[in-house]
């Protein structure tokens, strides 16, 4: 199969964040960046689908400044065949603009499947994959927690609140990947060496109008400092009293 995976480069989610002096973004100094978690599941899912199918091509796409090439190389060190970098000064907060740029590139690529993470850690919006599917005019499954291809059609599971739906869909299709599909492999030394020689094409992203911008970034208000009521069973009467009189949930 021919599979495209669209990835984003995001900061390590376990970081402690500071706000940049502009007040409109995080301070990136000292942060570690990598392929976003959900996008890394998508890369792994694509590799496994093609390994199972016994062939095909896997292509990775990323939009952003030159530093996204590091993430594209990492995907190739995991086993992706080639990479396309859509150059932009920064990744805008406008998911529709990004989807248009990606769809313009993917159209005519002959892909059976285009995979995305269900959302990226930083923007936490979940727009780009689904909107790309609309612009391509193909079927779309969002937040798949299982994904297979059987007899030329897609099969997926999608978590709902307190339930799940089992889905079938025709190819070509866009699928956005939730946790549960696949744990990403670590690149092997051989993979890292091979990735250096794999093709990485860089070209300008066709972003068009940007209609959503970040005006301000701030840290959420701290919760009031925690209070330990006491130890063991002896603290229960005090807890019950506070749940009644202060928290008013009883």
């Amino acid at each position: 199969m021919k599979i495209a995976v669209c990835i984003k480069r995001t900061p390590d989610s376990e970081s402690r964040f500071k706000i940049a002096s502009t007040g409109a973004s995080i301070d990136e100094a000292g942060l570690k960046f990598d392929i976003d978690d959900f996008a890394s599941y998508a890369v792994e899912a694509a590799l496994q689908l093609n390994e199972k199918a016994g062939g095909g091509e896997t292509v990775v796409y990323a939009l952003g400044p030159d530093n996204v090439q590091e993430s594209l190389r990492k995907a190739m060190s995991m086993g992706v065949d080639r990479a396309v970098h859509l150059k932009a000064d920064k990744v805008p907060a406008d998911g529709i603009a990004i989807a248009k740029a990606l769809a313009a590139e993917l159209k005519g690529g002959g892909y059976d499947l285009v995979l995305f993470g269900k959302h990226a850690f930083d923007s936490s919006a979940g727009v780009v994959g689904t909107a790309t599917a609309e612009f391509l005019g193909v079927a779309c499954v969002t937040a798949a927690s299982e994904l297979r291809v059987e007899n030329g059609a897609g099969v997926a599971r999608r978590e709902l609140e307190g339930a799940a739906e089992m889905l079938t869909f025709p190819l070509p299709a866009v699928v956005t990947i939730d946790e549960g599909v696949a744990r990403p492999r670590y690149p092997s030394l051989k993979g890292i060496m091979a990735a250096k020689k794999k093709p990485l094409e860089s070209k300008p992203a066709q972003l068009g109008d940007i209609r959503v911008t970040v005006q301000k970034a701030e840290l959420p208000p701290e919760r009031p400092a925690g209070r330990i009521l006491g130890e063991g069973v002896a603290a229960i009467p005090e807890l019950v009293k506070l749940l009644q009189t202060e928290a008013k949930v009883l």
């Binding site: 989610s13 998911g95 923007s123 909107a131 937040a143 089992m166 229960i236």
Partner: protein
């Protein structure tokens, strides 16, 4: 003055809590534009139209009802096409949905069809002329972003529990509209796997009792269930460590990569409070933690903490809550 279109989400023929919250958010936005109307879109199997009056209670002026046998399930492509076609008939200031499994799926489809900007998982909305300013917690709730959306119309999905459903009764007028067939190839639902019966969903519950590794064994989750029963209508959640170990289904996971919740009361049992877990529950109104390690990070965010072994403390707490709620 501009109207606002809102998606009234249903499941199994019943309106969901997020539908009333989305209508409340839409009402606030319509009022802020100088008194526009709120138009709700209600789709489902034949008979769903009977629910329209409930939307009026929360401030819908008009309810567009699209009934179709195909709408017994979440017919995402046709829902999106029907909402987009309806939106073309009015100059809506915004199309509002909930940031739920359905809303997350529909929002970007509608925005792309109408070529509108979209903002997701929004907790506050302000409108001034052709500019919308919204707040959206990004970075797994660690950074709050203020986003500016330019243009006369936009798609907005609102975070569950961020807008408290408020009564604002309008004599909602009902209009029947035709279901628009899908314009892209469709996904087919072959089966719905229902989760545990008899408990509210994590996103809808006002009380959540959650368990972690400190419970030591899968069978001890019974203590979490028992405490949830003592509180009446509480939901049960778990940490990632617990769902990764298979003690609980993946869908119960609360945290950065699982569900993000903000109930009135969150009770963390045997949970150390890893950053990954805190990202999913730190916006809860009141947090209670019981853990045997007094240095555990969960105590930094817990309004009320008890240092102790959950296997001893929880059964006694369950008895005390039963006692306190006698007569309920």
């Amino acid at each position: 003055m501009a109207n606002v279109l809102v998606f009234a989400e249903t499941r199994n023929g019943e309106l969901r809590k997020i539908a009333f919250e989305a209508v409340t958010a839409a009402r606030q936005l319509a009022d802020a534009t100088g008194g526009g109307e709120v138009h709700a879109f209600l789709a489902g199997a034949p008979g769903v139209g009977a629910k329209a009056a409930q939307l009026g209670i929360y401030g819908a002026d008009v309810v567009f009802v699209a009934e179709s046998a195909d709408f017994a399930q979440f017919a995402r492509e046709s829902f999106a096409a029907t909402i987009a076609d309806r939106a073309k008939l009015d100059a809506y200031r915004a199309i509002v949905l909930g940031f739920s499994a359905q809303g997350r799926d529909l929002g970007p489809r509608i925005a792309a069809k109408l070529d509108l900007p979209i903002v997701s998982d929004v907790t506050e909305i302000a409108s001034s002329g052709d500019t919308l300013t919204v707040k959206h917690p990004g970075y797994a709730n660690k950074v709050v972003l203020t986003l500016v959306v330019s243009g006369p119309s936009a798609v907005i999905s609102v975070r569950p529990s961020a807008f408290t459903a408020k009564e604002n009764a309008k004599p909602a007028r009902t209009e029947t509209i035709a279901a628009v067939p899908a314009k892209t190839p469709v996904v087919t639902v072959t089966e719905i796997k229902e989760g545990a019966k008899g408990r509210p969903d994590l996103g809808e519950a006002s009380i959540i009792i959650s368990g972690g590794r400190g419970l030591k064994a899968a069978e001890n989750f019974k203590l979490v269930e028992d405490l949830a029963d003592a509180f009446g209508n509480a939901a049960v959640g778990a940490t990632r460590a617990v769902t990764d170990d298979g003690w609980r289904p993946h869908s119960d996971q609360i945290g950065q990569t699982g569900r993000q919740v903000s109930p009135q009361l969150y009770v963390a049992l045997g949970i150390s409070g890893a950053i990954q877990h805190l990202a999913g529950m730190r916006t809860s109104k009141t947090i209670v933690a019981i853990n045997k390690d007094k240095e555990a990070p969960i105590f930094k965010v817990a309004d009320y903490g008890i240092v102790g072994d959950v296997l001893e403390v929880v059964p006694a707490l369950t008895a005390a809550i039963h006692e306190a709620r006698k007569g309920h």
